[in-house]
Symmetry: C2
Subunit: 293 residues, 2 copies
Amino acid sequence: MKLIDGKKVSEEIYNDLKIKVEQLKQQGQKVPHLAAVLVGNNPASQTYVNAKVKTCHEVGYGSTLIKLDENITEEDLLKEIYDLNNNPEIDGFIVQLPLPKHINENKVIEAIRPSKDVDGFHPVNLGRMMLNQPAFIPATPMGIMKLLEAAKIETQGKHCVVIGRSHIVGSPMSILMAKNSYPGNCTVTLCHSKTKNIEEFTKQADIIILAIGKPYFLKKEMIKEGVVVIDVGINRVTSTTTKSGFKLAGDADFDDIVSKCSHITPVPGGVGPMTIASLMYNTLLASQKNIYK
Amino acid sequence: MKLIDGKKVSEEIYNDLKIKVEQLKQQGQKVPHLAAVLVGNNPASQTYVNAKVKTCHEVGYGSTLIKLDENITEEDLLKEIYDLNNNPEIDGFIVQLPLPKHINENKVIEAIRPSKDVDGFHPVNLGRMMLNQPAFIPATPMGIMKLLEAAKIETQGKHCVVIGRSHIVGSPMSILMAKNSYPGNCTVTLCHSKTKNIEEFTKQADIIILAIGKPYFLKKEMIKEGVVVIDVGINRVTSTTTKSGFKLAGDADFDDIVSKCSHITPVPGGVGPMTIASLMYNTLLASQKNIYK
């Protein structure tokens, strides 16, 4: 069994990005600049945004944090988006979700210029991804692709079972794993809450990508020997062994299945660290005009 | 066994559209108007475009056919697109593919205003489809959804195997069949040229959607009793029983499998007739501003 170490892979990405930033500086060129828009005071959103800004500093990117009042009107938020779209200093930006209920999230996301949509949530980027054209890939799916690549997982002709059909993980993963490239070329089965006898699918899988948010869901009776498990779940469960009284658990029952897996991502330290690394990578692509010329 | 009669379903759609057009006329409102852009002299493209224009006449739509020289520059073609985008008379338009090799097809498709993209090929429409937002669905996938609905096929919790990962059929079908709506909520497996032991997947399927362009590919040993088969293939094969010396065959070996199927679409007369019907339906949606307000 081999652990797929997301922390290590993400650090390699950060090191590459740092080198690239140094090169740009030496060539007298602009370094990538990421802006983040945070509306309101949701504590989890604040934590995520702060982590992204901190990472910008670490890799040498410029960063801008725009904090907006929870009661901002949709119109005023859209004005901020237009300003960011037209600000040549900003290479890419994200609007931290969720937004307050009085704001139409879809409308806000569609207002982001696709060439600056480093979260890859704009329909144009998802559509281009589907069409196998240059596109910003959402952070978590891109992070999983990079993990599979780093671990040199053979994918062509393999049966990949994706569990969960969310817009930001399961659904794009099912598209990416079926694409005619590497990682990809899998036969892909997309399972979800309406799937019957899910263990009949997981038992057939060579690769399982779990993204349902149910702690300890995948058990050893549900998998075959030698499977690759990518666990996107980050669930908070109670624990008697930690001071805080809780710990993080994946969608897989790690201890139960680990001996049957050829490769597995731990939680934490697997897919999680890849998310911000992918965002940083997308920001470099945006600043280099690699996706939209 | 029940035949899913695409000709009949498409005629029902045309009748509904005719009634709608009459209502619009009586209310003194504009009737839907579809434009088609045809570049060059590809005989198949001419046939397709002519059939679309003819259907416009039949249902009472306005139509415009724009024939352009094969040697038109990309720039001049893009100018035509901009004119159509800005012409309030035109509700929706299509650019018949393929385009001559000196023209970048993706660039042309992305130049179409999404609200007039009744072919549903613009990345924004594909992305919105993936996000379960209002979108123009490409004609063939939409036609298949309408056939499943008309035949009252139960889909929730069923295993749907889609064979073929093309951008205009297989890939969007795999997304649509997994969506949380009807028809949909299937566990979906997407198979393609790199799939190994494809019969292991087809044997498990409750619903098979075939879109690979291989005549007589699906045989009775590959399916289970009671399966629903939707056959998108339209293959020209030689025949000793027709005057022309050829006939049309689907991707399924119809005569071989028919007795094992609960429902099956014939070729011709199954999915085929639904394609133009879906385009006409999309044109109505465009004229009514049902997708983009």
